[in-house]
Chain length 256, copies 2
DNA sequence: TCGCGGTAAATGTATGGACATTAATGGCAG
DNA sequence: CTGCCATTAATGTCCATACATTTACCGCGA
């Protein structure tokens, strides 16, 4: 309700383009100016439809775009929660496809090199998404094109203690861990954060992968979440020449 | 129409979950087995609705998911074109937001270090998305936090000859090039490909950025496309410690 | 031959309604 | 106090329908 800067009268009737796009712009401006604070629930579809004098369908289109753009998160039975006041790289995907999306894990084989229990210190807890003092299992391994084939990546994985009993299953597993853990423990995995960065290849990884000192790695840190927290955190080191991340960003037509 | 492997009878009535999801799975399997080849047009919404004995709305939901997953591309007046037989990292976004998405370019300043004309050889043509033999302008520069501030990245940009006249505008520009080119030339930019990889920091970049030899870079190759082809290709080298790419991948609830 | 305009066909936008599914809530029984 | 259950409210799914907008295409005229 700030009186300043109100050149944008809050009606979807001005401007051009589809109505849902105009409503979307209004809602975005409200998100930015704090009308709908982060963490709060936005008005319901019915309320917004009434406010903008339009149908629920049109409001849903606007909200769908806000979801795809990473501003809000919607849950059946709950509502529309504000998660950001600016767009995010957020990628929505069905689960089976998600597994295929992480190309490297599919049709490749994992070999466990080393396993140990660790108590999380503060720094490690932050990385894996756990709490300091908890006991987790740390697994070192290498992913291969095929058993006895060419090594692809060095992987360090962390799982909470309650999943430790499934770790032996990792040995020789084809595919991603998270699907294995999910099927064995019946804990559904809802989302995954991924952080891509560049880093020197760790010394141990150089040995396992047969690389010269000074090798460069594309480093992928992934945290797989169930509703109760992180189920697996893994850090993958891929030789820089062997992996790159391609994205295709497409402009929505007609919204200039 | 392969007779083998036909455990999936092609009706959406089996299985559980929403009907559009079942239809989506059937369509995905057809994409994979070549029933709808890459480059071809899929049946229209009306035809699919008739085949699956459902409404156009439900078919649209299935196709919307295929679009978000990167299998197909839809154009009003044309149809649904198959662009891939497996899911892709495809990110749809409005344009204003896209600029914000490429965080680094916003509220930073670009300084041109060097400009020259180059004739594309075959390898370079492939990288920038042009044709061998064409003349492009190559621009070297550095992006800074503020004029005279801290250097953030070394950037090598290529623009086709017809845009060369706008290159002087790059000097001291705040924001991304593509928005500058777009506003000056009135050529709308539809999409952007991005490839993220790890690489050694080029020697020239080490000098410009004041880094020690052996520094590691997160390398971003971007191609901005208009309908007529690549408008800008740029390769950015960021010090590995200063940049990472975070993604949030969310599972569609209720599709196990 | 070239360009212009009309037409058909496809997706895009929008309405209004109905019912399903999920999640929080509060009350009741143990 | 705890646990189960009915209620309520929100989004999710689905229908039939209409019109708008974009694109490809064909034919006509200059």
């Amino acid at each position: 309700m700030s009186a300043q800067d109100d050149t944008t009268t809050q009606t979807p009737d001005e401007g051009t383009g589809p109505r849902y796009a105009r409503i979307q712009k209004i809602l975005e401006s409200r998100l930015r100016d704090g009308t709908y604070p982060v963490g709060s629930l936005m008005p319901t579809e019915i309320e917004l439809a009434a406010e903008f004098d339009t149908s629920r369908f049109t409001v849903r289109e606007a909200l769908r775009h806000l979801t795809e753009t990473g501003f809000v998160e919607r849950r059946q039975g709950l509502g529309t929660r504000v998660i950001s006041t600016e767009p995010q790289m957020r990628y929505s995907q069905t689960f089976d496809s998600l597994q295929e999306l992480f190309q490297v894990a599919v049709e490749t084989y994992y070999v466990v090199m080393h396993t140990e229990e660790v108590v999380l210190d503060k720094a490690l807890a932050e990385v894996v998404g756990g709490k300091a003092g908890e006991t987790w299992t740390r697994v070192e391994g290498v992913r291969w094109t095929e058993p006895g084939g060419r090594p692809l990546a060095f992987i360090e994985s962390y799982v909470p203690a309650r999943f430790a009993k499934y770790v032996p299953e990792f040995q020789g597993h084809q595919g991603a861990f998270f699907s294995l853990l999910e099927s064995h423990s019946a804990v559904p995995i809802d989302e995954c954060e991924q952080e891509i960065s560049a880093a020197p290849m760790p010394e141990k990884a150089q040995r396992y992968l047969g690389l010269a000192p000074g090798a460069i790695a594309l480093q992928l840190l992934r945290r797989y979440h169930s509703s109760e927290g992180v189920v697996i955190a893994s850090c993958n080191w891929h030789p820089a020449e062997q992996l790159s991340y391609k994205m295709h960003i497409k402009r929505n037509r007609g919204q200039g």
